[in-house]
């Protein structure tokens, strides 16, 4: 079983090599990283043809207790092979794209080392056959995300965004860790297969199971940026655009959904946890779509659309349709990577302009970018015969068939909003006339950037078709195709697109002003205030304790008491010898009186 090792370790070796030896040789570093990723991808393609040997323990690592041993193992099944294909395939394309996008960047070596270490961590998550290994790589992914978001650390915003992402994920990961511990206490193992085997006995404690599952889900809430921990993802767009495409759209944020699919047996056994997961997923889907319709930064719109689509996937897990979730993850990875890389091409072509109202008319200046972006948009919004159409429909249909009419209605509404905000973006960025000097001398990016776009456009169209997707995934069965639902989603697609065209065509500024949505429901401000208040309160409490109890009462109190005692007693120092003798005699008499006559 050398293939999994090659897939996992090549990116790590590349990162180590770049950091240790080729920091100065920027172009060479880039080539090393790209080569490593391509090797991983080729090995993955070879692995696709191999049989599913589940749960291979490859390296025995730690024996903490008789019933707590940790190993580095490889899960090789349909799920992990598909995810690997997505991660390494899209990763390879984005590595190549980065060659163009980061061409003149001073930190190119650091950037590519970061990408490589990210690939290593992400592949580790996909391969994990136990919770501890998954958690380990889960954290590594967080670190590499931190490094890459903060790549341009000399500007103020990226480091702040990197911190925010890391700290917000910390909250979710804490829950994840508690969940792992609860599962270990409950079943005596951290291995997925053993936990699965212990499920019949374990399911007898529904409350405990639900609590453990929800805590494990907390990890997914952090990593997949679900409400209420979604705030880090839009800010993470401060990183370079290929990073946004790779980490914050196609792969890392999908890790939460992948993890939920991996431990779906837990979710399936716990209706309580399902309710929570479905609720969070639906809330995120709707809320993020609402926010997206009022954003003006091209990458933030895409970020919120990512949130919304992740909401779909999480909700799908919550309504026990895990195959639909993975289906959507699979298609979404392609078209969202395409959209982000497209937005990167636009940003590159307009000299790092990100405000959509300063673009306009780019259809003629960046024709191939426009075409591929259009494909991505159509796939995302669920245009018939594009990949997103099939996968999104399978989730919406699952909601209807599961009897969750409320979720069904909300998801359908979200599909309408998705169509609306994406066509708003299309119309404003590519349609109309140019609105700034940057847009006027917009130019087509080099082929190293456009070719990955063209390649990604292919799966964005076809990845949804059953004959293709069925090779990678266990799809929802054919009889679940519901033509009524399909008709409805085609209707909302056209309604959203039409409304966007009607409202935004030819406009130079936003005709719709909804401060609540433009302000993103003021959740950031709320957190800011909340944290400021709690922190101020805790700080003032600590300061009071320090100033009055520690400094005042204990330190100054003791020295003060000694000083006062000394001050009083020194009045007895009269300097007169006979007074001392008198006091001494009087004291003796008093003592004698006390001991003899009292």
């Amino acid at each position: 079983m050398a293939l999994p090792w090659i897939i996992l370790l090549t990116p790590l070796l590349s990162a180590a090599f770049i950091v240790l030896f080729t920091q100065r040789m920027r172009d060479f570093s880039a080539m090393v990283s790209v080569a490593a990723c391509v090797i991983s991808f080729i090995a993955t393609c070879l692995l696709l043809g191999k049989p599913n040997g589940m749960y291979v323990t490859a390296y025995h690592w730690l024996d903490v207790a008789p019933n707590f041993s940790i190993s580095i193992g490889f899960t090789i099944d349909q799920l992990s092979k598909t995810m690997l294909f997505v991660v390494t395939g899209i990763g390879a394309l984005i590595h190549i794209y980065s060659l163009g996008y980061m061409e003149d960047d001073a930190g190119k070596s650091r950037y590519f080392a970061g990408l490589s270490i990210f690939m290593f961590s992400m592949i580790g998550i996909v391969f994990a056959n136990n919770f501890v290994m998954m958690f380990l790589f889960w954290e590594l992914v967080g670190v590499s995300s931190y490094i890459l978001i903060g790549h341009w650390f000399d500007k103020p915003a990226p480091p702040a965004a990197a911190n925010k992402a890391f700290i917000t994920n910390r909250i979710g990961d804490f829950g994840f860790m508690l969940g792992i511990l609860m599962l270990w206490i409950g079943t005596g193992s951290v291995y997925f297969d053993k936990i699965k085997g212990a499920m019949p006995a374990f399911a007898a404690h529904p409350c405990y199971l639900a609590a453990a599952t929800v805590l494990v889900f907390c990890g997914a809430v952090g990593k997949s940026a679900q409400f209420p921990l979604h705030v880090w993802l839009p800010d993470a767009m401060e990183g370079p655009t290929p990073v946004s495409a790779l980490i914050h759209a196609a792969t890392m944020v999908a890790a939460g959904v992948y993890m939920l699919s991996r431990v779906f047996f837990l979710v399936a056994a716990s209706p309580g946890a399902q309710g929570v997961i479905a609720f969070i997923g639906t809330t995120t889907a709707v809320g993020a779509a609402l926010i997206a319709i009022q954003q003006n930064d091209i990458k933030r719109i895409l970020a919120y659309s990512t949130l919304s689509q992740l909401g779909y996937m999480v909700c799908s897990v919550g309504i026990a349709a895990d195959s639909a979730a993975m289906y959507h993850l699979f298609t979404h990875a392609f078209f969202k990577a395409l959209l982000f890389l497209g937005s990167g091409a636009v940003i590159y072509g307009t000299h790092h302009e990100q405000d959509i109202w300063k673009m306009g008319g780019l259809k003629n200046r960046l024709p191939s970018t426009f075409m591929t972006f259009l494909v991505g948009t159509l796939a995302l919004t669920g245009c018939p015969f594009f990949s997103g159409f099939f996968s999104k429909d399978s989730i919406i249909t699952a909601a209807l068939e599961g009897g969750h009419s409320m979720i069904f209605a909300l998801l359908l509404g979200t599909a309408f909003l998705t169509s609306f905000y994406m066509f708003r973006l299309m119309v404003v960025v590519f349609g109309g006339h140019t609105r700034s000097a940057h847009a006027r001398d917009g130019h087509q990016p080099p082929p190293v950037m456009t070719i990955p776009l063209l390649i990604l456009a292919v799966p964005s169209i076809f990845a949804g078709y059953h004959f293709l997707a069925g090779r990678f995934l266990t799809l929802p069965a054919e009889e679940h195709i519901n033509f009524g639902v399909m008709g409805l989603s085609v209707f909302v697609f056209f309604a959203g697109a039409g409304l966007a065209w009607f409202l935004y065509n030819g406009k130079d500024s936003d005709p719709v002003q909804i401060p609540l949505l433009a302000g993103r429901f003021y959740i950031d401000q709320f957190y800011q205030t909340l944290i400021a208040l709690t922190q101020d309160f805790a700080a003032s409490l600590a300061a009071t304790f320090d100033r009055w109890i520690l400094d005042g009462a204990i330190v100054r109190g003791m020295s003060g008491a000694a000083w006062v005692t000394g001050f009083v007693l020194r009045f007895l120092q009269l300097g007169n010898l006979q007074a001392y003798a008198f006091l001494f005699g009087a004291g003796s008499v008093a003592l004698i009186y006390y001991f003899l006559f009292k």
């Binding site: 020194r570 009045f571 120092q573 009269l574 300097g575 007169n576 010898l577 006979q578 003798a581 008198f582 005699g585």
Partner: protein, 106 residues
């Protein structure tokens, strides 16, 4: 008339009281020193008296008398040191009156 323990103790107490009064009231440091010696000898007297009147198996208890020898020895040493201090004091201050020696105070 047979002398009793009370008589000796009375004399010893008187000697101690006179000595203590001298320490408290006299101004000349040499006199104070002599009064201190008197107090020591008052203690010696009572120790000897106790020894003499504590007869066991026809013999007095000599422990008290042993202690008296110690006190005499220590008193002799103390006199040597004390007089030397007083001489040194007189040399530096040209006085032996305790009111004039009161600089050790707050």
């Amino acid at each position: 008339m047979e002398l009793t323990l009370d008589d000796y103790l009375l004399v010893s107490g008187l000697l101690f009281a006179i000595g203590f009064a001298g320490v408290l009231l006299r101004r000349n440091i040499i006199i104070i020193f002599m009064c201190l010696e008197m107090m020591l000898n008052a203690a010696n007297l009572s120790l000897v008296a106790f020894s003499r009147f504590n007869v066991q198996n026809g013999l007095p208890n000599y422990n008290g008398q042993m202690l008296v020898f110690f006190i005499i020895t220590v008193a002799a040493a103390e006199v040597a040191v004390g007089l030397a201090v007083i001489v040194a004091l007189y040399r530096s201050r040209q006085t032996t009156h305790v009111e004039d020696i009161s600089s050790l105070k707050f």
